[in-house]
């Protein structure tokens, strides 16, 4: 039997502490859309996506209404487009991106992911063409998200790809210069990319996935933050327990929504992503959780330790609450999407070097960081190479989503609007990695014995 305190706790989490389901993402395979005829290919892609996901938004809204829990985003991820457009060139890829955008508009979803290439060991011709199409594809569409996997722990790091992505990010920034280089907010460079991630901009429908699947990403930094505040001056063992219990409750809601959405749409349930995904709203910040744990400011010495503990406790609590866990699973630390992170960067408490250290112990990487518009390509590649190395060496997913905001310099503010938020342009190290980056080639896969 339900008791009053439990009911009030749930209502309070949703109404006061911003508990929500961040996304229901439908993964759709596009393998059966392959065609030598460019028109036919685009037509089949549009038809398949709009048919499979026809009721996605409505079903999400119905579940939201019945259970009283907000479902912020309904999204679609598709098979990495470089795997289905092999018979075509750059221009066809741009057309495919516009087709995806049109399908997203028809469905009423806010993002569609999968304009992606997997080049961890090397480039297929198809992947080369897709990457060449990214800047124009992202500047001429509104909802298409792109990702490129440049490394895995098994294959090592494709440094040619990292060099190329430095240039691609700069071009995308230039082509979307009228919108604070917004295109770069829809482009992620990955190491060890997950195949079932429901979160944008890195979502795609992996090759081992079923025909169609429902993945759900939960949220709830505000709930964890309040629980920590209520716990008072307890020691860290007790605090870890508080976080675990809270994460369990949050994830149970995700599991309920995921299985209900899968049932109603008659699509298999894939995974729940055990995430703490912040928004720029007050009371929905991961940085503020760390501060509630006892740091004067996010970025202070001790931040990495606090984040490591938070991340681990979220996973331990969440894993029992869901039948299948996957995706990125962990606390996210996107700067522009987290009110406390924005504040910490603006105050000089949080630097890119500290953010890099934090990504070694949490999900996902250097995320939504605005950097000066005149940052050289090689420096962007250097940032990527550092971050990707952390993922490869530690057998975890890492990623880079930086925005070299055109015309902006250190200290300026860049605004993307909505959930993407705003960010102060961060300071970068002024020295050049040019010679290292221009060597190209591959960094061999790391050894996994002799661990130190």
């Amino acid at each position: 039997m339900l008791n009053t305190a439990d009911i009030l706790e749930t209502i309070n989490m949703i109404r006061q502490e911003n508990l929500d389901i961040r996304t229901i993402t439908m993964g759709i395979s596009l393998f059966d859309c392959v065609s030598e005829d460019e028109n036919r290919l685009c037509e089949k892609i549009y038809d398949k996506i709009t048919k499979k996901a026809e009721y996605l938004v409505r079903t999400g809204e119905n579940i939201e209404k019945e259970y009283g829990v907000p479902i912020v985003n309904k999204r679609v991820s598709v098979t990495p487009v470089s795997l289905i457009g092999g018979a075509h060139g750059k221009d066809a890829y741009i057309r495919i991106a516009r087709t995806l955008d049109r399908a997203a508009d028809t469905l009423g979803i806010n993002f569609i992911g999968g304009f992606s290439a997997l080049v961890d060991k090397g480039f297929t011709d198809s992947a080369t063409q897709l990457i060449a199409a990214i800047p124009e594809a992202l500047s001429s569409t509104g909802k298409v998200c792109s990702s490129v996997n440049v490394a895995t722990t098994k294959a090592g790091i494709n440094m040619d790809a990292i060099r190329l992505m430095g240039r691609t990010i700069k071009e995308t920034a230039y082509l979307t210069r009228d919108n604070d280089s917004l295109g770069c907010a829809k482009l992620v460079v990955f190491a060890n990319v997950p195949q079932d991630n429901p979160f944008m901009a890195g979502a795609f429908h992996g090759v081992g996935e079923p025909e169609c699947v429902i993945n759900v990403g939960v949220s709830g930094p505000g709930v964890v933050s309040s629980a920590i505040q209520r716990a008072g001056d307890c020691d860290l063992s007790a605090l870890a327990d508080v976080i675990k219990k809270t994460a369990f409750k949050i994830t149970r809601v995700g599991q309920l929504v995921a299985s209900e959405a899968a049932r109603r749409l008659d699509v298999p349930f894939g995974i729940v992503d055990l995430s703490l995904a912040p928004t720029p709203a007050i009371g929905d910040s991961v940085a503020r959780i760390l501060e509630n744990m006892g740091l004067e400011r996010c970025g202070a010495h001790g931040t990495t330790a606090a984040l490591a503990m938070l991340n681990d406790a979220v996973k331990k609590g969440g894993v029992m609450a869901s039948s299948h866990v996957g995706g990125l699973s962990g606390a996210f630390i996107p700067v522009s999407e987290d009110e406390g992170m924005i504040d910490a960067v603006a105050n000089g408490a949080l630097t890119i070097e500290k953010l890099e250290a934090m990504t070694a112990v949490c999900s996902v990487g250097l995320d939504m960081i605005a950097i000066p518009g005149d940052t050289p390509e090689a420096v962007i590649s250097g940032i990527i190479a550092d971050e990707i190395s952390i993922g490869v060496a530690n057998t975890k997913t890492t990623a880079v989503r930086v925005i070299p905001a055109y015309g902006k310099k250190e200290g300026d503010t860049v605004s993307f609007g909505g959930l993407l938020g705003y960010a102060p342009v961060i300071r970068l190290n002024p020295y050049s990695p040019e010679r290292f980056i221009s060597r190209g080639g591959r960094i061999p896969a790391p050894i996994h014995s002799l661990k130190n």
């Binding site: 339900l2 439990d6 009911i7 706790e9 209404k65 019945e66 409750k249 809601v253 309920l256």
Partner: protein, 89 residues
């Protein structure tokens, strides 16, 4: 299927009567009520069987919410499963 209807706000005459009337009118069978008043602050939780609803559940949710707004009350109507999954293993 059961729904939990929570009502909070400043206490005044006829809150339970008003909410119950809507339930009766739309075919929701009230199974349980817990209610308290703490220094003028009214809080009620109602469990109702909604299998016999004469309107779609989402409309029932909106109807109660609008009624709440008209009387300066907050009324949330939610499927009981969200509470069961969150608080029971």
């Amino acid at each position: 299927m059961k729904a939990v209807i929570s009502v909070t706000g400043k206490d005044n005459v006829g809150i339970i009567a008003g909410v119950s009337a809507i339930c009766a009118d739309k075919g929701a069978n009230i199974l349980d009520i817990t209610q308290s008043v703490l220094s003028e602050y009214f809080a009620m939780i109602m469990l109702a069987d909604i299998d016999g609803l004469t309107i779609p559940f989402s409309e029932f949710v909106d109807l109660l919410e609008r009624y709440g707004e008209s009387r300066a009350l907050q009324i949330h109507t939610m499927h009981e499963d969200i509470f069961n999954t969150m608080h029971h293993i």
